[in-house]
Every structure is written in C-alpha cells, then in structure tokens.
Amino acid sequence: MNLADIARVHDRDLAGEAAAPEAQGLMHAIMSEERERLAVARPRRRVGRGLVLGLAATATAVAIAVGAGLVGGPATSYANAAVSIKKTDEYFSVNITDPTADRRRFEEAFRAVGLNVTVKVIPVAPSEVGKLIGPIVPGGFMWHGSIGTQSIEPCSSAFCAKVWMPADFPGRVVFGVGRPARPGEPYVDEGPGGPEGEEALSGYVSHGKAVADVRAELRRRGLKAGYRLMWQYSDGGWFDEAVPASRVKGAWTVASTRFSSSDTVDLYVTAGKDAGPAPSPHPQPQWYDMPD
C-alpha cells in the first residue's frame, strides 16, 4: 500500500473541475470584489489587548443629511464633523475626517444612511491611525450580498473607504476607527492573521533566537518586553497565551515580535517542552466584544 492511496481524492480525479460552472461562478464572484484591502468581516481568535475607548467628543456637532425620504427613510448621504458617508448604487463611500471623534458621531452617520452598526474608536499603532477597521460580524456573516471595506487612495481626509454591507443584515456589525494610542497605551491588535514572520525591530531578526537574546536586544533599545506563548494543538489550531515573564525561560525560542504599544514589544515564544501541558484555548474578549 502506498501513502498516496489513502488520499481521499487525487488531483487526477478533479480533472475538468476548474471548468465546472460552479467553479467558474466562484471565480467571477471573487473577481467582482474590489481588489485591495477588501477586509471581509471575520473575528480573529486572538487574545484581546487592553481597550481604551477614545472619548474626545466634538464640542459642536453639525450634521447634514441629504435625500432623506418624506416618510423618514434613510438618507443617501450624511456628513458631520467626524465622517461623511455617501450611498451609491453598489456601496457606501465613507470619508473619516476626525478619527478621534466620539464613536456616537460615527454611529449616527451610519444609521442616517440605513446601516445599523456599532462603532468603537480604538487605540492603534501610528501606521493604523484613522483607518476604518472591520466590519466585524461576531456572529458570522451568512446573508445575501457581501460585506467588506476597501481603502481608497489618494484620500484628502484622514481615511477614505468604500463599504459594502446589505442594509437589511440583522446581525451585529462592529467597525473600529483607529485613533493614536497614548505613549505606553496598548494597541488594539487588528493585523491580518497571526504574527507569523513578523519582526518588530528594524535591522534585527528575532525569529529563531533565544528569549534571553531578544530580551537583551530590547533592553539595549530601551524597550519593554511582553510575552505570548504559542501553543499548537493537534487539530492544527494554535493559541497565543499572554503570560508574565516568569512563565518564560530564557532558552526558549522566539517565533516573532510585534509592537504591542509604543514602548513594548511582545515576544511570541514557542512553548518549550518544559512549559507544561497546553492550556485549553480561552480567547479573551476582543475590542469588538466589549459593551457598546
């Protein structure tokens, strides 16, 4: 018997599948999406970081709604000091002008054009400031149409995006607006996927190095270290557990590094053989899980 024999299906069994109408239909559906940064809502199972909502309320809020129906239907465009939203046939055009504004200013604008969403203003790394993050659909998106965002450049505001979302989607939808984190304030992490391959320190590769070595490099650069143990599960899943320094041995291996605030770099550490049994995954509430 050959190992190849236990495969459920061989590529040769699939000859011609690419030409099947279902496969071609999928290709066209994919290509009908806008290309860059079309972030489909999908909560990521990662441990949440600290969350501090921005409360820089605008002193005066002037809002302009256009196209509101006589019976009080949604407007086709809406603008206030924080954001302007314009409805087109296919999508909503969103321009963020003040990423530090009160979240209610964003929510009122979305609601004015018929989208019932929750907005949270979240502390992010400098490169992420002003960006519209999400949409996140904590309950999963199983509905007609599509949901997603695409950033637009050039942009004369802080951030410009197209947003796709069916107005009749009944589930909870959360958007984040990135505001500058204060010095030392933890970033809300919304990078795509896990930190695999990420290096936080310019000119320094942490991957494969011992924790003690990376820690020394951080000290040399005047940075603090945070620790996250990477646990692998037999089902192929993984879980990163935030742990205190005392749980991590200097000889264990660093997989990657990522800034978690302006002065702290998290070391993603492969749990050593002497780390004990892997814990059950216990995802902590994410920023989008917090009470509205």
Binding site: N2, A7, D11, D13, A23, I30, R45, F141, M142, G145
Partner: protein, 180 residues
C-alpha cells in the same frame, strides 16, 4: 509582471484551481467545507495579486495560503458564504468524494492520522502534492535542509507507528516520489 490583474488572476485560478481544491479536499473532513476554504484562498490571491509569484511558484504560494486558511477553519472560523453555495452542493454530491476518508477505514490511514500535524503535512506534501524538498521549503518558508531533516524524522515516526500497529514490512510501504 506584464499582465493586467484580471487576466493574471484568471490564468492563476484556472491553472491552480484543481490542485488547490485537491489539497483542501484531502485535508478537510467535510467536502462541502472545502468550497469555503478554496474561495477564501483564491480571494486572498485576488486581493494580493501583485504578491503572487510567477509560473509554478504561484501554486506553492497558494498551497501556503490554503494551509493557513485551513488552520483558521479548523480553529472554528467557519462561515458559509452565499457565493460558495453552488460549489458546496457540487462537492457534497460528488461521487468521488462520497466514500469516507481512507484514514478512517484503513489501518495505515489510522496510523497516518495519529501522526502530528507537522509530520502528516510534510509526508502529505510529498505523497499527495508530489512536491520536492525545494518546493516544500519555499512553501513553508524554511530551508531545504530543515525539510530534509523533518521529513526523515516524520518518515521514521510513521514507520515506527506502522510497526507498532503490526503492519508487516513497514519499510516496504513506499512514499510516492521517495523511499521511506
């Protein structure tokens, strides 16, 4: 990269769809779930078309993406999308996929299933996707030497598992494309 994104994507999709579908089906417990994994894999390729390497390397890149999408899928990030409904039905109705996976019914399959994910994936890439050491190294982002060493160990563990299960002459069980 002369081709426009649309024609380039069509070319990549049409040449890699079957191997990627095969890769996913061989690792997905439920054939219909494969539709969503395949859709997400190619959606990522569409969004990041500039990053997809040329020629045969595109398939390796897509295997790497599919591997991560599958891992997310196994972690419970499941969602069925409207756009994959037709493909899900097609896969669910496929006679070729009607029988249960071999790892549920044969002794060798059960030994294979009991290997670690890493061992199983390496052996599968050789036996099922017919990748050589260099291709596996590029797909996984590790050195050829690391692939060689890990494969050697995976084969040894597999052989030990077969022997432990009482399968005679485990060394006669060949990995297609290489010797055990």
């Amino acid at each position: 990269m002369g081709a426009d994104p649309n024609s380039r994507f069509v070319e990549i999709y049409e040449s890699a769809y079957e191997p990627i579908l095969g890769y996913v089906l061989r690792r997905c417990p439920h054939p219909e779930d494969a539709a969503d994994v395949v859709a997400e894999t190619f959606t990522i390729a569409w969004r990041r078309i500039e990053e997809v390497p040329e020629d045969h390397e595109a398939r390796l890149w897509l295997y790497g993406v599919a591997r991560r999408v599958l891992a997310n899928h196994r972690r419970g990030e499941r969602r069925h999308e409207q756009r994959t409904a037709a493909l899900r039905e097609r896969l669910a109705a496929s006679p070729a996929l009607a029988r249960p996976p071999e790892d549920e019914i044969s002794q060798m399959g059960r030994v294979f299933r009991d290997l670690t994910d890493d061992d199983r994936e390496l052996l599968s890439l050789v036996a099922w996707e017919k990748l050589d050491h260099g291709q596996i190294a590029r797909m996984l982002g590790i050195s050829r030497n690391a692939v060689r060493i890990r494969l050697y160990r995976a084969r040894r563990r597999f052989a030990r598992g077969l022997a432990g299960a009482g399968i005679d002459h485990p060394r006669a069980v060949a990995l297609e494309g290489s010797s055990l």
